[in-house]
């Protein structure tokens, strides 16, 4: 699996209003990998994703995408590079129709020309959305909104998708569905950065994983290694 790294985060520091959210985080994502980042609430997972997406400006550190430092680039420029995101809380456009949500996702220059084809692909993957394409996204259930968020990310034909807790607030059945979707996207050769609290499900599908605690990486290793790691178990269960 040794490929060139597409994304390298080096010594990233992020803080809000004077208090640190990320403390010298470094990680590497290789092409077509599925990387899990696990950690409790407040560990800095969301800050990590938002810094990569350019929504949060880091205090210091480098974020290198295909050899180019993208710190300081605007979110829309970063999206054009092929980095998409399925955010925590989904952040769909609640008053816009499902289709508008998807179309907006597919309007980046990199994918604008193939918008209709991509739309079809999303509808094939999520037939539920096809049924509700005219409905405003705010009226959908949590799971359906999650589908919109994923579909919206797919519309830009990204090279990498960052998922921020896709299972949050979903029923076990839906959670399973979500992880299946993530796995399918990965099988389609999309690089995945998956941030989760659902340790077992995410680590079991991930190639490698990082454990984030208090804004720092405390553990890293392959999915299976981490899954059987005593520290991980203790961290989450206190066993």
């Amino acid at each position: 699996m040794a490929r060139e790294p597409v994304l390298a985060v080096e010594g990233l520091n992020v803080s809000y209003a004077g208090s640190a959210a990320l403390n010298g985080v470094s990680l590497v994502v290789q092409a077509e990998e599925l990387i899990c980042v696990i950690g409790a609430n407040g560990a800095g997972k969301t800050s990590l994703i938002r810094s990569i997406a350019g929504i949060v400006g880091p205090a210091s550190g480098r974020i290198v995408w295909r050899g180019k430092d993208i710190v300081g680039m605007s979110p829309w420029e970063i999206c054009e590079l092929g980095i998409a995101q399925v955010p925590e809380g989904r952040e769909v456009f609640a008053n816009l129709s499902v289709e508008d949500n998807l179309v907006i996702g597919g309007s980046l220059k990199r994918a604008r020309g193939r918008r209709d084809a991509n739309l079809q692909r999303v509808y094939e993957l999520f037939p539920r959305l096809d049924e509700r394409r005219r409905q405003s996204a705010g009226t959908l259930s949590g799971g359906e909104q999650q589908m919109v968020a994923i579909g919206r990310a797919m519309m830009s034909e990204p090279e990498m998708i960052m998922f921020d807790e896709p299972s949050i607030g979903l029923s076990p059945a839906l959670t399973t569905v979500m992880f299946d979707v993530v796995k399918r996207l990965h099988d389609d050769k999309i690089t995945i950065l998956l941030v989760e609290q659902n340790v077992a499900s995410s680590l079991s599908i991930g190639n490698r994983g990082y454990v984030l605690e208090n804004g720092s990486v405390v553990l890293e290793g392959s999915g299976q290694d981490l899954l059987s790691n005593e520290d991980v178990r203790r961290a989450y269960l206190g066993l």
Binding site: Y16, A17, R50, I55, V56, G57, G72, S74, P75
Partner: protein, 328 residues
């Protein structure tokens, strides 16, 4: 204290131009303090403070001119009415969850409504206004009558009391509770702050206070008209001082008024002397934009080097947005 002592001493030697200019500065600073109390401490935005100013002015004018009663009584009655009107307005608004900018817009509507009503109300002179008799020259504290210097000291006294009261309120439990309420209403409720009560209270106190300023302004002007005393112009003039000077601080409104009103007059005199009226508006507009651009917290906090954010506690989302803004 030193500032006030100096101003009081200088009051004896200033020429009449500075006296009458500073009288207006002090009065607007005094009214500005009430506005600043409401937003800077209580977190409630009023864009229609002319309502309270007008109520105060009319109370004094009607009682004095029509019934020959002492302006002191007018000030008392005016502030009672304005306080009640403020409380009623606040009660209605907050009961129905009108808040933030919507409350601000409501205050405009209330002020404009009152203005139109007063302009059609014959008893208070309608649009023809009310006129005080000419000053006889004899100063009388009882009847609040006197020359320019007399009003200078009255206005200076008012603004000094205003600074004192603001400082006292800031230090009392009200100050703590109001600032907490302004910063985060829900969080302060969780700490047992009866926010509804306090919001009504702060609007009411601010209204009563502004009415006193309005009453004094009426006496100094010598005549009042609904347009000039209750119009949008007053509401705007009132709030510029505190924002320029420093919102919620004891000295901010005074400093702001001391800067902005004489500056306005300077620019006006200049544009008049070169014969291009309107240039003063342009300059004043640019000054206002520059102040909010470069001194986001006002002059006073910048002067004393205590930068404190006057913003409400931003949610996580707006924090992100702000980080973003900084970067761009």
């Amino acid at each position: 204290m030193v500032l006030f002592a100096a101003l009081a001493l200088l009051g004896a030697v200033f020429n009449s131009y500075l006296i009458s200019l500073l009288t207006i500065v002090f009065l607007f600073a005094f009214i500005g303090q009430s506005w600043s109390l409401m937003l800077g401490l209580g977190g409630q935005l009023s864009i229609g403070h002319a309502l309270f100013v007008g109520i105060g002015a009319y109370s004094v004018a009607v009682l004095d001119i029509k019934y020959g009663l002492s302006p002191w009584l007018g000030l008392l009655v005016g502030s009672a009415i304005a306080g009640a009107v403020g409380a009623a307005l606040a009660w209605l608004s907050f009961r129905f969850e009108v808040r933030g900018i919507y409350f601000g817009l409501l205050t405009i509507a209330a002020a404009e409504f009152a203005r139109v009503m007063f302009s059609g109300w014959e008893f208070v002179g309608g649009m023809q206004g009310l006129f005080f008799p000419a000053q006889s020259g004899e100063s009388s504290l009882l009847m609040l009558r006197g020359g320019a210097r007399f009003y200078y000291f009255v206005a200076l006294g008012a603004v000094a009391i205003g600074v004192g009261v603001t400082a006292l309120i800031r230090k009392s439990f009200l100050g703590y509770v109001w600032r907490a309420m302004r910063d985060d209403e829900d969080a302060s409720r969780a700490l047992g702050v009866r926010t509804f009560l306090h919001k009504v209270l702060v609007v009411s106190i601010s209204g009563a206070w502004a009415a006193v300023g309005g009453g004094l302004l009426a006496l100094v002007q010598g005549s009042i008209f609904p347009d000039s005393i209750m119009g949008m112009g007053i509401s705007i003039d009132v709030l510029i001082g505190p924002i320029v000077g420093g919102l919620g601080t004891a000295f901010g409104p005074l400093i702001g008024a001391l800067i902005i009103i004489p500056l306005d007059h300077l620019m006006s005199a200049f544009s008049d002397s070169i014969g291009i009226p309107g240039l003063n508006n342009v300059a004043y507009g640019i000054v206002l934009i520059a102040v909010v651009w470069f001194l986001p917290d006002g002059v006073w906090p910048a002067l004393i080097g205590r930068f404190r954010s006057q913003k409400r506690l931003p949610s996580i989302r707006s924090q992100i947005v702000q980080t973003q803004e900084v970067r761009q």
